[in-house]
């Protein structure tokens, strides 16, 4: 059976999968998820209270955040572990509620995970394998898998986000990342023993680390729109008697955020965010159901806003199985940290979970995606087309214009604006920023071709705005790597993709250098973009099929991160480990089958010595196994410095074979022997202290 995306990303909690292999396409899935549309959740205090009373969750947001990531995967429902005493086939077989029917045809099942333990998980696979017919391939060169554009991320209300943000914020916070790692490692220590298979777990940890480094649900970047909300869910509690008035007020409040919220970013506009009402009601009450239906119609007629009906309560929910939820893959670092440090298990009824997924699928399929597409085609018609006709083949004219405007030091005055801190940005309504949004949204919808061409054409407009330009280069490269994965050739990497990345990095670098020279000892935010760019590049390169060709580029990026970025110690070690992974993956295509065959042979333990030596002749120079071992060794050393004994132990285990029988690297005065000694000492200390506690306990 296939290891699911979610199980892999949270492998620490699914250690029974520990001996499987890394899911294919993992990098692309993470990136898709990381740039997936953000949905803000705002609700009335009454609703939040009601939820707190019923489900012990602080708010609707706290409830919904568990349902992020790939909606059609229904990961939370997969967590369901039926109790042995209870047989609940009826529950599973129960037909979907009314709301389900609306979205039935758009459900996708191709990546759903079959059950491991019993057939009770069939809830997720019960629907047919029909694929949503709404999206078609726009270009055969740009392949996509069926889960693309099915990802969402939930976040707090916009005003909340704005209030807690600062213009000096990083795209991601190095410090938090480090703390997150430390906590995760502590959990690893707790959850594993010496016999736990660790290879996949380590990779999973890295990908988790990677996903956090490249995504954020809280930081609103002025230069790109990935983290800007696309949908704003406005929820009221029908059970508490809330109705049209409340809904209308909330909508007005939302629409007026531009004006009412101090510091509302000039690069954002509520006009580009789709408001959707979420009407929460008790499914057992016929009245509430009717009220909901009516209210939905009224809201649509009078406020032109769609509503979704969420039967949040039902007494029978609790009769059936409950599920302990996992943390969503994409969540803000702060939330991750919070839950890591004070883990509070959240349990919800399985039925409610399924119902919620049904509603969310409806939201995504019927409302959000069509909305985004409408917007995209509108922008295409109003911005892109005129530009194309104007500038088509006349680049020089455009250059002339920009030169002139440069002379007056006032390029397209309508586009730029200053925020309250005096920072100058493109305003939300500017052509440049709308185009950027067009590209980003295309990216979110996995239309990489449009994304690529839009980024590319934007490059010319942004020549004088290095921060915008750099991000443009970056995503230009990412869109190619995401979209044309299987057809990327050596030539493409060399002539197109890598130069884009290098230009992005150079441009980021220049920005950072400028700010460095003016500012004090502060790590300027643009550095975090640079870092993310290198993370993205490394992982996407690594995911290409010809690893022999692509790994050097990945290595280059990772090495640069190591030397240039101020990561915390554990984060750095993660990179060292990843470097080692890269080298392990560097296998010449000519011998790839051989090494895998060799691996198979090694498993059967029937390798004749001369056979082996023969293999060596053939594979000589076509792998980087020794390199890989070396970087693993360095990682081990650094883990020891951090007193992360388990990690160090695993590293040493991984390189055991590579250095076995080589006297000169096993000498006492060399690092390997020293590490082993230190490990033993640490082990002894642990033993001693545990002995002591036993003794004292006995005493």
């Amino acid at each position: 059976m296939k290891l699911s995306y979610e199980n892999y990303m949270n492998l620490l909690f699914h250690l029974d999968h520990g001996q499987e292999t890394v899911p294919p396409d993992i990098a692309r899935r993470i990136v898709s998820n990381a740039v997936s549309p953000v949905i803000t959740v705002s609700s009335t205090p009454e609703l939040d209270r009601h939820i707190r009373d019923t489900y012990h969750l602080d708010s609707l947001y706290m409830f919904l955040r568990f349902f992020g990531d790939c909606v059609s995967d229904r990961d939370q429902a997969n967590e369901y572990q039926p109790l042995r005493s209870k047989e609940e086939p009826e529950l599973v077989a129960e037909p979907p509620s009314k709301a389900d029917n609306l979205i039935e045809n758009s459900r996708k099942s191709s990546l759903k995970v079959p059950s491991t333990s019993s057939d009770t998980k069939n809830t997720t696979t019960s629907t047919s394998g029909t694929t949503g017919g709404t999206r078609k391939r726009s270009n055969s060169l740009f392949q996509r898998d069926q889960t693309q554009s099915q990802y969402v991320r939930f976040t707090r209300p916009i005003d909340d986000l704005i209030e807690s943000s600062d213009s000096n914020d990083m795209l991601f916070d190095y410090h938090s990342l480090e703390v997150f790692l430390e906590n995760t490692l502590r959990l690893v220590e707790e959850y594993t023993d010496d016999n736990t298979p660790f290879e996949l777990l380590k990779k999973s940890l890295y990908h988790k680390f990677f996903s956090l480094a490249i995504s954020s649900t809280t930081y609103l970047s002025p230069y790109e729109t990935f983290n800007h909300p696309v949908v704003s869910l406005i929820a009221i509690d029908i059970s508490a008697g809330q109705g049209y008035e409340e809904a209308r007020d909330l909508l007005i409040k939302f629409k007026n955020l531009n004006h009412t919220v101090e510091n509302f970013p000039i690069f954002m506009s509520t006009g580009d965010i789709l408001p959707v009402f979420l009407l929460c009601y008790n499914d057992e009450s016929e009245d509430e159901q009717n009220a909901c239906q009516q209210l939905a119609n009224q809201l649509k007629k009078q406020l032109f806003v769609e509503s979704l009906l969420l039967p949040l309560w039902k007494r029978s929910y609790s009769d059936h199985g409950e599920v302990e939820l996992h943390q969503p893959i994409m969540s803000s670092l702060e939330e991750m940290l919070y839950f890591l440090q004070s883990p509070t298990p959240t349990r919800l009824p399985l039925q409610l979970i399924n119902v919620t997924y049904n509603i969310l699928e409806k939201l995504v399929k019927d409302l959000m995606v069509p909305f985004m597409k409408r917007k995209i085609s509108f922008w295409e018609e109003t911005i892109l087309q005129p530009r194309k006709s104007l500038f088509h083949g006349a680049n020089f004219f455009k250059k002339l214009m920009s030169k002139n405007s440069n002379g007056s030091n006032n390029h397209q005055p309508i586009s730029l604006g200053k925020d309250k801190n005096g920072n100058e940005y493109f305003v939300a309504s500017s052509t440049e920023f709308l185009m950027r949004k067009l590209a980003d949204w295309s990216m979110m919808l996995s239309d990489f071709k449009t994304a690529y061409s839009t980024y590319e054409s934007l490059v010319h407009d942004l020549e004088n705005f290095p921060k915008y330009l750099a991000s443009c280069f970056e995503w230009c490269a990412v869109s190619v790597l995401m979209g044309a994965q299987n057809i990327v050739t050596v030539k493409m990497i060399k002539n197109d993709i890598d130069p884009l990345i290098q230009r992005a990095l150079e441009t980021y670098e220049n920005c950072a250098a400028d700010e460095d020279s003016t500012g004090e000892e502060l790590y300027v935010p643009v550095r975090s973009y640079e870092t993310r760019c290198m993370f993205l590049a490394s992982e996407l390169f690594l995911s290409l099929s010809d690893t022999w060709t692509s790994t050097p580029y990945a290595l280059n990026s990772l090495e640069t991160i190591l030397t240039e970025c101020r990561l915390g110690p554990c984060s750095e070690i993660m990179i060292w480990e990843r470097l080692s992974d890269c080298y392990y993956q560097r296998i010449d295509p000519r011998i790839r089958h051989k090494t895998s065959a060799q691996g198979a042979k090694a498993m059967t333990d029937e390798l004749a010595p001369d056979e082996e030596s023969n293999e060596e002749i053939v594979t000589r120079g076509l792998t980087r196994k020794r390199k890989a071992a070396f970087f693993r060794l360095i990682a081990a050393n650094k883990w020891v410095e951090q007193k992360q004994w388990k990690q160090a132990f695993w590293c040493l285990k991984e390189i055991e074979e590579a250095y076995a029988g080589l006297d000169f690297v096993n000498r006492e005065d060399l690092i390997l022997a020293r590490l082993k000694r230190q490990m033993n000492e640490a082990q002894n200390n642990v033993d001693e202290s545990s002995n002591q506690t036993v003794e004292s306990g006995a005493a």
Partner: protein
């Protein structure tokens, strides 16, 4: 949280990536620029070193200690070298554009001739790097790998004088062949001869640490 306190950090300080220079927050530790140690080894067919040596600079001012690699590198050198073998082997089997028939004039015969041309394609030049250290290599016809880690100045990439390094390798190769002619020396076994050692060190002094 920003930086490492570990001694491993020293390795970082000497790094300058090829396409980027001058990051502000790179802590550079000032070290004597004349200190350019080398770690040299001849690696046999089973990744076993048959000879190893560390060359230290003799150039320092009076009273200055001859400096070798820092301790943290000392315990790592063997591994850096081992790691570079992957690339050496890769290069070994690559058809060199320079090694075409009829090029380079006169050919082989016996090694002792010191004919420069016949060892041209044995020298692989710089094959690898690790944080400011450069690794050069040379392969003999019998598949022995001569590999060297060049310690560098603290603030930049180690500069390799290819002509000098190549001459060093060629002469060591010659010494190796002479060693090989010793019937008591078995191919792939460590070279215990102190004479060999002192000659190699003399060559290092002549070509590498002037």
């Amino acid at each position: 949280m920003v930086n490492l306190s570990s001694n491993m950090k020293l390795i970082f300080d000497v790094e300058t990536p090829s396409y980027k220079q001058g990051k502000r927050f790179r802590n550079t530790i000032v070290r004597n620029p004349s200190v350019m140690p080398q770690y040299f080894a001849i690696i046999g067919k089973k990744d076993n070193p048959i000879y190893e040596a560390e060359f230290t600079s003799q150039q320092g001012q009076q009273g200055q200690l001859q400096q070798g690699f820092q301790q943290n590198l000392k315990e790592l050198n063997a591994f850096i070298l081992h790691a570079s073998l992957d690339i050496v082997e890769d290069l070994q089997w690559q058809v060199s554009p320079n090694a075409q028939h009829g090029r380079g004039g006169l050919s082989g015969g016996f090694l002792r001739s010191k004919n420069v041309n016949n060892t041209d394609n044995c020298y692989l030049g710089k094959v690898d790097h690790f944080y400011g250290l450069a690794i050069t290599a040379y392969i003999t016809y019998g598949g022995m790998k001569l590999v060297m880690i060049h310690g560098g100045p603290p603030n930049g990439n180690t500069q390799i004088d290819d002509n000098m390094v190549k001459s060093f390798y060629q002469e060591v190769h010659e010494l190796y062949v002479k060693t090989l002619m010793n019937p008591f020396y078995k191919v792939n076994e460590p070279i215990p001869s102190p004479a060999f050692d002192s000659r190699v060190r003399a060559l290092a002094k002549k070509y590498l640490n002037r």
